[in-house]
């Protein structure tokens, strides 16, 4: 790692936070719209501290955090359970792939957020609507990536396996599955990212608990400090989750 590059990056980070601190102080940015970085960090600490938390957030921050994480987790699980099989089904048969892949592409391009209000009136304000919406958002990228993974398997592997007399089941288990794993894992990471987006957006627009909800209610109450604080926390949490998967991905790809 180049020292110049590292110091460049560090300086960018420093400059960013410097601006965040100085601009609101000088009044260039309205303090009510963009609170000073230092004040935001203090509020973050207050929220994360279980003792002071309830004075800011009535039901305590961690309850909301767990709800959000729970919704993301369930949505992710369902996405995997449904997305992977469908991905293999569509990707595994060239005819089906040819017919349906473009359709899935189009669905993926469509702004699925538009459907959220419908999901809310069907499933209500509770976690179900967030889970279903998060699942829906993460499903199609996973399917597309799985299809691409299957398509990307080098034909020579299949040829060689056939030459050694592989039955179809052996072919699937010993060649196709392992060969498609790297690509599929990146699809899984994408799915998780979209699950997260869906759940948080759902909470922001129509919910009574969760990280998104705290952010929205703080915003409406013009409590910019809490708003920014929870946004910072949420960004960090989601970043950590996604990095964890990337890390696992890199471990697996060492081969």
């Amino acid at each position: 790692m180049n020292l110049k590059v590292i110091s460049f990056r560090i300086s960018i980070v420093i400059i960013f936070f410097a601006f965040w601190e100085i601009l609101p102080t000088l009044g260039i940015l309205n303090e009510f719209s963009v609170p000073k970085f230092s004040k935001v960090i203090v509020r973050v600490a207050e929220i994360l501290n279980p003792y002071s938390s309830t004075s800011i957030i009535p039901t305590g921050f961690y309850n909301h955090l767990y709800v959000t994480l729970f919704e993301i987790g369930v949505a992710f699980f369902i996405t995997l359970c449904i997305g992977l099989p469908i991905g293999f089904l569509i990707g595994g048969f060239r005819l089906i792939t040819q017919i349906y892949e473009p359709l899935i592409y189009l669905i993926y391009a469509f702004p699925s957020v538009a459907l959220y209000p419908l999901i809310v009136i069907i499933l209500g304000f509770g976690p179900q609507s967030k889970i279903v919406f998060g699942f829906f958002l993460g499903l199609f990228p996973l399917i597309l990536n799985t299809i691409a993974a299957l398509r990307g398997i080098r034909p020579s592997y299949i040829l060689i396996a056939r030459l050694f007399g592989c039955t179809t089941i052996q072919l699937i288990l010993k060649v196709i599955l392992p060969a498609s794993v790297p690509f599929i894992i990146s699809g899984i990471r994408l799915a998780l990212a979209f699950n997260t987006i869906g759940v948080i957006f759902g909470e922001m627009v129509a919910s009574s608990v969760g990280l998104g909800f705290i952010i929205t209610s703080a915003t409406y109450k013009l409590d910019a400090l809490t708003e920014y604080a929870v946004i910072v926390i949420s960004l960090s949490v989601t970043f950590l989750i996604l990095e964890a998967i990337s890390f696992a991905e890199r471990l697996g790809v060492r081969k």
């Binding site: 020579s156 592997y157 396996a161 030459l163 050694f164 007399g165 052996q170 060969a179 081969k255």
Partner: protein, 250 residues
């Protein structure tokens, strides 16, 4: 009669504009058991196609392949193995696991196949690298693992389609010498396709020279020299010249 009998082999190819191209027509050939036979010919003349038909991967349009009295019309991993220019090792498996693969497919017991795999890996001189992954090996080493994998099923026949094509000159020569070693050790029948006249002369008992499309057998050169051969041997040089002339006039 032990060996590979190729009878009246014909293969067509449908080109653009729906024209019918003859790849080869009525090829008759007999390859002795335990021999080392090389097929050479101009680019695109159908050598690889011929090899793949023998392997049972492609069906001929006429004619048949008979090995030791049995007709071949599908892949026969029990008697044949094939080695390609692209080693095609599975990157998610170690060297050992790659060489075990054919035995795994056959359902051989774990302990037995492990032993067999180790044996052939040591035969190609890569015992230290058993737990390495293919991406950690050089091209030449990957091809050696490929060879070990091909031999682990103890096939009667080894089909090789330009296996050293992607390797540099020095490695090619080393691999050629090692191949002869392996061949003498295992007694397998080798059918070898290559572009390199030097390789053909050095390695084979017999060189089959094909003509341009539609390919016919232009000539068959028998090389009676004992092994190990010397690359510098003037007899080999003469044979190479002969092949060159045959190909030039093809």
């Amino acid at each position: 009669m032990k060996g590979i009998k190729i009878e009246g082999l014909t293969k067509y190819y449908v080109g653009g504009n729906n024209t019918l191209l003859k790849v080869f027509e009525n090829i008759d050939l007999f390859i002795d058991s335990n021999s080392f036979t090389t097929i050479i010919g101009p680019s695109g003349c159908g050598k690889s196609t011929l090899l793949q038909i023998i392997a049972g991967l492609i069906k001929p349009d006429a004619g048949r392949i008979i090995i030791d009295g049995q007709e071949i019309n599908s892949p026969r991993p029990d008697i044949m193995s094939m080695v390609f220019q692209d080693a095609g090792l599975f990157p998610w498996r170690t060297v050992l696991q790659n060489v075990e693969f054919p035995l795994e497919i056959k359902g051989v017991n774990k302990a037995v196949r492990r032993m067999s795999a180790k044996k052939y890996i040591s035969l190609v001189g890569l015992s230290e690298f058993e737990s390495y992954y293919p991406n950690q090996l050089s091209g030449g080493m990957q091809q050696r693992v490929n060879l070990a994998r091909a031999l682990v099923t103890q096939p009667k026949i080894l089909l090789m389609d330009e296996p050293f094509g992607a390797l540099d000159e020095q490695t090619r020569q080393k691999m050629a010498m090692e191949l002869i070693h392996l061949w003498q050790h295992t007694g397998v029948t080798i059918l070898f396709v290559t572009h390199s006249l030097a390789e053909a002369a050095y390695l084979s008992d017999r060189v089959i020279v094909l003509s341009n499309r539609p390919a016919t057998i232009k000539d068959v050169i028998d090389i009676d020299l004992p092994r190990p051969r010397d690359i510098e041997d003037p007899i080999l040089a003469k044979i190479r010249k002969k092949m060159w002339n045959l190909l030039g006039a093809a």
